[in-house]
Subunit: 67 residues, 3 copies
């Protein structure tokens, strides 16, 4: 049996990161669909949320090499 258990942990963190990013962008799409003129305000919020959720996955990648 090859492979490393670290990859499973990294994949689990990726599961959550992708679901979280999906939730944020779904809300972004809904908000712009309701008020198209709000896109200018909502875009930085959605991108901030994306960066913070993605950071969880990036941290997991880093620690998959460290551990």
């Amino acid at each position: 049996m090859e492979g490393t258990l670290n990859m499973i942990g990294m994949g689990l963190a990726g599961t959550g990161a992708a679901i979280g990013i999906g939730l944020i962008f779904a809300a972004y799409v809904n908000g712009v669909a309701r008020q198209p003129e709000a896109q200018r305000v909502l875009q930085p919020i959605a991108l901030l949320g994306f960066a913070l959720a993605e950071a969880v996955f990036i941290l997991a990648i880093v620690f998959a090499f460290v551990l």
Copy 2:
């Protein structure tokens, strides 16, 4: 089989943290889409929630090294 079981536990905590961050920012985007003038009030709440959800992941990283 290489790797450490601790990474799986860290990944599981990361799953929840990322989904939680996604939920918080989705609500933040929805709130600003409904009331753009509420962004000043909602931003610190969303960031507080992010910090508290991320703290679970940070704690898991720490204890992945300790255990």
Copy 3:
């Protein structure tokens, strides 16, 4: 194979705790977005909910060492 199965159990508790914190703060953000004057009432409720959800994770950390 290194690491301990206790860390997986701790991670599973962290998954739920972080999702729960996310749900609480999402509802908090939604409530303040709908009625900004309700923040004074909602904040202690959200923080109480956070403490009770986090307590699950803290207990899991403790028992990961005990067991």
